[in-house]
């Protein structure tokens, strides 16, 4: 008798791998019936591990790797932002737009008006979010690859305009901006931001509001027939996601004390997408996990120069084709399920 196991291999055997959910889920995936501290701990453990782990990480690392953690968190936030709008059915190839807008707004406020980072970063996050949502407002009705194309092109336009007009420092960019007080402030600021985004976005998706977003991804016509203005919801989603990314951009502006055309570079688009794909699309934990795998790995590969882009691009393609669920969902499944071999007839 031929049986097909879950990984798609067909083998002639009388055994089959059976997967059983641990008995903690009751009825639906959002209604839990916790009956003991042990079960509570079972759910709490992975979440606490992430938070505590991230907060402790800078304490044990040297300066160089602490800096790597900063970059990782920035990419992590961009990845979260990508995953968030993806869970509302919008596929962006332009995280660099949100990132760059935030960076430039912070840079302008600091360079021309002399605002301190304490003010520029929050203002840039909000203003960046609003600008991004407004820029994409006319194309919100586009779906799939067409939306992706627009988001892919907008950061290029931004870079070209600055290059052509020489405004905002032109190719040279704005430099000698106010730095953040020290590396400790920087690393904890960005780590906390990452944690807030991670759990914040998860929380939003768990509410009924998030349900509407998931519905838009599945079937936007049915959402419209439910008298819900999907464009308004999409604009709000974009605002939230773009604010997070713009925050990261503004942070980087002050962290590097510089903002220039590189903020619109491909790196800030493709690395977050690659991270999310490797970690697992949907559910946000995958995005963070992916960036914590990819970015340090790339950093270790920095010696080989531009090969690292080759490396993560191909890795992303590999994951999309071979392991589309991503590492996180694979791990989560292992954590939540028993596996055992059973014999079949």
């Amino acid at each position: 008798m031929i049986t097909e196991s879950k990984n798609g291999k067909t083998s002639e055997s009388k055994r089959r791998k059976e997967r059983l959910d641990r008995g903690i889920k009751a009825r639906a995936d959002t209604i839990f019936a916790l009956t003991s501290y042990r079960e509570a701990l079972y759910l709490l453990f992975p979440r606490a591990l992430v938070v505590v782990g991230m907060l402790l990480v800078p304490l044990v690392l040297d300066t160089y790797w602490t800096k790597v953690v900063v970059i990782t968190c920035v990419i992590g936030i961009l990845a979260l932002s990508w995953d968030f709008i993806a869970s509302a059915g919008m596929f962006s190839l332009g995280q660099a737009l949100f990132f760059g807008l935030g960076g430039y707004i912070a840079g302008i406020l600091n360079h021309y008006l002399g605002w301190p980072p304490v003010m520029t970063i929050p203002v840039a996050a909000v203003a960046g979010g609003i600008c991004s949502a407004l820029l994409l407002l006319p194309v919100l009705r586009l779906r799939g690859i067409y939306f992706a194309m627009v988001t892919f092109i907008l950061p290029l336009i931004g870079a070209k305009i600055i290059e052509a007009t020489g405004l905002l420092g032109g190719i040279a960019g704005l430099s000698a901006l106010t730095p953040l007080p020290n590396l400790w402030v920087a690393v904890y600021l960005i780590i906390i931001a990452l944690i807030v985004c991670l759990f914040g976005f998860r929380r939003v998706m768990d509410t009924d509001y998030g349900l509407v977003l998931k519905g838009m991804m599945d079937n936007d016509q049915a959402v419209m027939a439910s008298s819900i203005n999907i464009y308004w919801y999409k604009a709000q989603t974009l605002f939230m996601a773009a604010s997070a990314a713009a925050f990261a951009g503004a942070f980087m502006t002050h962290y590097y004390r510089f903002v220039g055309i590189p903020v619109f570079a491909m790196d800030y688009t493709i690395l977050p997408v690659a991270s999310t794909v490797v970690g697992g699309v949907g559910g946000f934990a995958g995005a963070v996990l992916g960036s914590f795998i990819l970015v340090p790995l790339c950093e270790a590969l920095r010696a080989i120069g531009s090969w690292r882009i080759v490396f993560y691009s191909f890795l992303m393609v590999l994951f999309v084709v071979v392991m589309p669920e991503g590492i996180f969902h694979y791990m989560a499944r292992k954590y939540h399920q028993f596996e055992r071999w059973v014999t079949t007839e």
Partner: protein, 289 residues
Amino acid sequence: MIGMIIYGLVNSAVFVLMAIGFSLTFGISGIANFAYGAFYITGAYVCWHLFNSLGLYYPIAIALAVLASGLLGTLVYRYLLFRIRGISLSEVIATFGLGIGMLELYRSIGLTGHSYKLSVFVEGAVEVFGVYVDYQRLIILGLGVFLLILLWAFTHHTRIGLAFRGIAQDEQTALCFGIETENISVLSFAIGSALAGLAAITIMPLSLLAVEEGGNVLILVLAVGIVGGLESTLGVVVASLIFGFSQIIMATYFSPHYSMIVTLAAIVVILAVKPSGLFGKFKELEERV
């Protein structure tokens, strides 16, 4: 003035050559090949190596390079895209990642610099209405027109061509009529890739062979496809004419920087205002909106 018209026409033919492969693949298999720029560059590099490293006779090198591009497309479809057909997000990520990866790979192994230049097919220039135009540009113009006619004849008067159109209209119905949609999709992807290679080999002699061209070509191709209406051949021609002439005009009267901005802005404006493109049909509108 006459010079501008002639160069505008040639430039438009460049756009047609570039975009026709992308448009064909998208129109038939529904795959937006974001690795198109990388395929384009690949064709040129293969040709360069066949000619300069292996010392093959130039026409043979060209033929082999075009075949190699087609083969590359077939392999990519067979081993990557085949497994994720229909999931548009995955298709975009896979082709996009593949394109960037390939281009960066070329950069990493040092395929840059002044030594990389494809030679023109025929040396020399000729005077047309008082303007000197080199033969290569005339070849581009001729090839562009020839390919358009060929494509039209192919899709309207051959069995495979009709199958192509059938699938473009409704894949499932085509399947019911015994058209093997998977084979046709492979074929359309392979032909699209081969056309990318051919376009590169024809156009690249006008400038240096550079990795950066890959990204630019992708953007221009998207621009032509979107403005004209993807999968509409007439749209490709009209959009190519628009971009071909506007680029020449912009470069003559303003800075060349602006021609790229205009191109990019045109994509966004068209998508915002008339998502089906200038010549798109209703079906596409349904898919885009």
